[in-house]
Amino acid sequence: MKKPPNSLSMRLKTFARGGVHPPELKLSSGQPIEELAPPETVVIPLSQHLGVPSEVLVARGDEVKVGQPIASAAGFVSTNIHSSVSGKVLKVDNFMDSTGYRRMAVQIQVEGDTWIDTVDRSDDLVPKTVLSGGDIRKKILEAGIVGLGGATFPSHVKLTVPSGKKAEYLIINGVECEPFLTADHALMLERSDELFSGIQIMMKGLGVEKAIVGIENNKPDAIEAMKRVTAGSPVKVQGLKVKYPQGGEKQLVQALLKREVPSGGLPIDVGVVVFNVGTVSAVYDAVMKNRPLIERVVTVTGKSLVNPSNFRVRIGTPVSHLIEAAGGLPEQTAKVINGGPMMGKALASLDVPVVKGTSGILLLDETEARRKEVLPCIRCAKCIGVCPMGLEPYLLMTLSEKAMYERMEEEKVLDCIECGSCSYTCPSSRPLLDYIRLGKGEVNKLIRARKS
């Protein structure tokens, strides 16, 4: 393993409370981003983002080109969706997506690879934009950009600072604290100039003077690359100790600025807006190259996989296509995860499409995928020790089992970020987060009932 140079290992920052350090297992680290050819058909869901599903613009039989809008934002917290391929619309129907539910999507039969002509497909770097903040936000909405770290919150909304709030810092999340995932790492190595340009665009869109890129110290080459391109600019690159869940917004803001986002609040409450490096890359493409969000980098990985890889994939490509490209599905695969092992979602089928929020596809073997037998709580308090939000997971689980939802609300269950550190660490293998999630749902129902 490569040792980080001394200048980097000094003054590493991290968040204050809790955290765990699962084996990093970045098997696809160092693999270049490989362009994956479009499959025969794609399925592009109308709900790939947090907020209102988009309104479909095409119908069966329509011819579409790469980059052509096929659905439009159906409200402020919503966004546009574009065709990632050229071809013919086969169906607008319900298809199973990564949530396991069948939801509305556009199925397109791929024919050739014809792009809309406004897209600049060259690799020429465009370092500066003349657009105003408002125009930048408009372009970002037009291009259908959402947070690519996994939360998929529409980016134009985040860039619109609510009245009464003031943005001071733009924070770029290059932490990639989930084990196995390397997509952001690959982006920082291969597209550092584009990322720097993208960061400047977003600073302009947000109206801030200061930006910090946070990167964990297990990616010294990425820290170096980003430091090189940002040298002499107001964009700072900060190395961070390797600790999960540092990529959580609240944890990252605290690690970098020692500011605590209030309970129930957002980073903007402490003058900060956080974007993932993948999102920055997409913003660059959208603003400088007129290229809508039709593809993303996805890590395909797993201990038994032949070629763990980083692929640039068209949105809507079935997961099975990615696994084939990485060497095929190993026989002993028992669980397929959309995302990382700590917060990703298990998939029921390999037919589901890659969507804007798909950062990785992780294959787990039978031996890794099984949960261990649940034993009684021995009150070792390890769950409290690792909770990054200062909660008491053992207590929340008990309250959830006993349906004491009002008490759960008092015990701040809604602060839980569902990082899974408690379940990960429990020596009795208790399903802490399962019960906490259940309780959160019930508490949210209580709150809604109280408001109405």
Binding site: R370, I378, R379, I384, G385, E392
Partner: protein, 330 residues
């Protein structure tokens, strides 16, 4: 079509387990066990073996025939209770009494409340106090160290704390100190006392091992030892003729064993750091109050049991520091 497992995140787990933690504590006790075998010989071997086997047996019998649940007698917790019980008994105690103590520890201390994780009081201490009340003579006759081949026939004497308590009725500290072992002997463990409590050095090694393995944090042992040191230190500064010096208090009695192994029992101690500090300071204060102003020469066992009783209250009202201040919902 492949059938995949679909379950909520997280999808990977640490390799922590209950047996791993329990046997980790047991490994950390081996230096202290070694010192005890060195000083008390065959007696230590007999009571330790009987205590561990009895705890396993009673746990198995109660779970199988009374509670009718799958027995968990090999998860390490019964072995640990047995080892801890042996550590706080005199090495010359008849083995049938050890068995009675084990029955009290596992039966009353643990299974009555529903088994591992549910008990309020430290099972080993419940067993010890049960024996202390039932067999006061046997429980206060301490074998002199160095009688390897002797068991119940060992020559006995008083503990340093006993000598101090007795002596202070007529004399001052300066006159008594020559009668107790030197600090070096106290530190290494050459003194009379419960079988496993004698060597502060070995117990401290065990504590460092447990901290290194992240089995325990510093909060409970350090707050107990610190409080005892401060409290007895203040008294000593006020009147060094009436009160023994703080180092004497740290190295004698069951303080190290109690602070490092009894008070840190997961099940019966508070679950967050602030709570642990309150608990540790409380145990320290009550220990000193009993030692100096109470009827018994030693008070750690009672102090820990009292604060075991407070633990649910501490857990309910002392909260960890939450992330972020509240904002008005709107």
């Amino acid at each position: 079509m492949n059938k995949f497992i679909v379950s909520p995140s997280p999808h990977v787990y640490s390799d922590e387990s209950v047996p791993k933690l329990m046997y980790g504590v047991i490994i950390s006790m081996l230096p202290a066990l070694g010192v005890s075998v060195f000083y008390f010989g065959i007696g230590m071997i007999i009571i330790t073996t009987v205590s561990i086997l009895s705890c396993i047996l009673f746990e198995y019998l109660i779970q199988t025939y009374v509670m009718k649940v799958r027995p968990s007698h090999l998860d390490g917790s019964a072995v640990l209770t047995g080892l801890l019980l042996a550590f706080c008994l005199p090495a010359n105690i008849p083995f049938c009494m050890v068995m009675i103590g084990a029955l009290a520890a596992v039966g009353i201390g643990k299974m009555t409340f529903g088994g591992l994780g549910n008990n309020i009081f430290n099972p080993a201490l419940v067993g010890r106090v049960f024996l202390f009340i039932s067999f006061p003579v046997a429980m206060t006759a301490w074998p002199e160290p160095g009688q390897w081949m002797k068991y119940t026939d060992a020559v006995t004497g008083a503990t340093p704390l006993g000598i101090m308590k007795e002596g202070l009725a007529f004399r001052n500290v300066g006159e008594i100190m020559p009668e107790v072992p030197s600090f070096l002997h106290l530190f290494m463990g050459k003194m009379m006392g419960s079988a496993g409590e004698i060597s502060a050095a070995a117990l401290l090694i065990g504590m460092l091992y447990m901290m290194f393995r992240k089995i325990i944090t510093w909060h409970i042992p350090v707050s107990i030892l610190g409080t005892v040191f401060l409290f007895t230190g203040i008294l000593w500064l006020v009147n060094p003729d009436r009160f023994a010096d703080p180092l004497f208090h740290l190295l004698t009695g069951g303080l190290m064993l109690g602070a490092i192994y009894m008070a840190t029992d997961y099940v019966t101690s508070p679950m967050n750091k602030r709570g642990m500090l309150i608990y540790g300071v409380g145990i320290g204060i009550v220990t000193v109050l009993i030692r100096i102003f109470g009827a018994y020469p030693e008070g750690v066992q009672f102090a820990i049991l009292i604060f075991n009783g407070f633990t649910p209250l501490i857990n309910k009202y002392v909260k960890p520091s939450r992330f972020g201040k509240e904002v008005a919902h709107g």
